[in-house]
Symmetry: C2
Subunit: 242 residues, 2 copies
């Protein structure tokens, strides 16, 4: 792993009752300031309507002082990536997002740009899922079939975005989020899963990883079980997983 | 489609506050009586521990007067299927279930036995998902990678088991079940999705399909939108989808 990676992974783009990205505004500005970013390359693949999605994201980022380019508008996505100052991968359907990244041969170029050249990467929801080793802990429906569940591997573990603690009063018999993650951990050789509650972000600065935002995270380790981490926690140890 | 197919698809094995399969007991007995079934072949692939799972299912079915054989105990699953009087496919992780069906080359043999020879098929949750055209509307996490999302195709549409109506008071920002199904329906050439609420079953008797159980279903049609169906509704039109 390179020491210069700059990654900000949001559980969700929005928390209840606020505008798109509002809760993460200061964090995003501070994240991009170090690299003097003025334009953001947006990857809208997680939703069907790329133009509409890009317009929505542009409105949010323009308020923060950034220009936004939709990668779908360019004839050469890899060139656009190579020229980008920062990339934002939005939420939607994780399977659709990952399949489109494969269809456009973007996985290896993004991995290289982020890990070796320090391109700032912001992901939200599905965009956070694809930043990890695999999409095996997404909450989304498998509406399209990607060539693999293997993802960017910018961090060596899995994320469950929109992580939701079980409701003890619920009468619903479908598996809780925790039960689903436990089923994953019954398999051999699978990494820990970081459940980011809505409003939580993981900030990776080189070899340092910190929880930010307005809610914490729950970490599921296949051998050690579950443990809670508050906002502000240093979780750099997660970057050392082999 | 053959006229003799006998299929019972449960949203869930259990409803809140009752024992395993309790709410569906009478329906299962009446379903199996016509074929004079005494032994049930159980497919436990959706969970990791096949022995433990089979023991649990055996306890439930023994009370109803049926013997249970776990397909994992035989050296020749296809032979076991060919000799079976009825099959029960239990819930758990849909991806794991479908992958194991592929690994054991069981899809085509099950399809043939059910559609051409009238082998009674009971599915619950993941076992209902794999009975449809694809697992594209499962709620489960993609913990393993099956060779395809294409499933048994015993009925020509999709099912969403454990269907849950949106909670208008929720502050959770993750997509509702309905929003996820709508994302699926933005794709071209996808079939309707029958959202079976917990406690609902779909009974297919040849060319007749009826909703049974203690709760109804919500049908999502890519062109016509959503509509509710009560217990007792005749939904045979769903079997005519091309």
């Amino acid at each position: 792993m390179g020491v210069s990676r700059q990654i900000l992974l949001l559980s969700s783009s929005t928390v209840h009752g606020t505008e798109y990205l509002k809760y993460a505004e200061n964090e995003i500005k501070s994240f991009l300031k170090n690299k003097n970013v003025q334009r953001i390359l947006f990857i809208p693949y997680a939703l069907q309507n790329h133009d509409e999605y890009t317009d929505k994201i542009r409105s949010a980022f323009v308020k923060l002082g950034y220009e936004v380019d939709g990668i779908h508008k360019t004839s050469d996505p890899i060139l656009a990536l190579n020229q980008a100052q920062a990339v934002y991968v939005g939420g939607g359907n994780t399977f659709q997002l990952l399949k489109s990244l494969y269809d456009n041969s973007l996985l290896e170029p993004i991995r290289k740009k982020v890990l070796q050249e320090g391109l700032p990467y912001i992901g939200s929801s599905a965009g956070s899922n694809v930043a990890t080793v695999s999409i095996c802990t997404t909450n989304d429906m498998p509406i399209v079939y990607p060539p693999s569940f293997k993802a960017l591997g910018l961090v060596p573990f899995n994320i469950n975005p929109h992580f939701l603690d079980a409701d003890p009063t619920s009468k619903h018999m479908g598996e809780t989020r925790e039960e689903r993650i436990k089923q994953y951990h019954e398999l051999p050789d699978v990494p820990p899963v970081l459940g980011l509650r809505e409003g939580c972000m993981l900030h990776v600065d080189g070899d340092k990883a910190t929880l930010k935002g307005i809610s914490g995270a729950k970490l599921f380790d296949p051998s050690k079980g579950a443990s809670d981490y508050e906002v502000g926690s240093d979780v750099s140890f997660l970057l050392n997983i082999q």
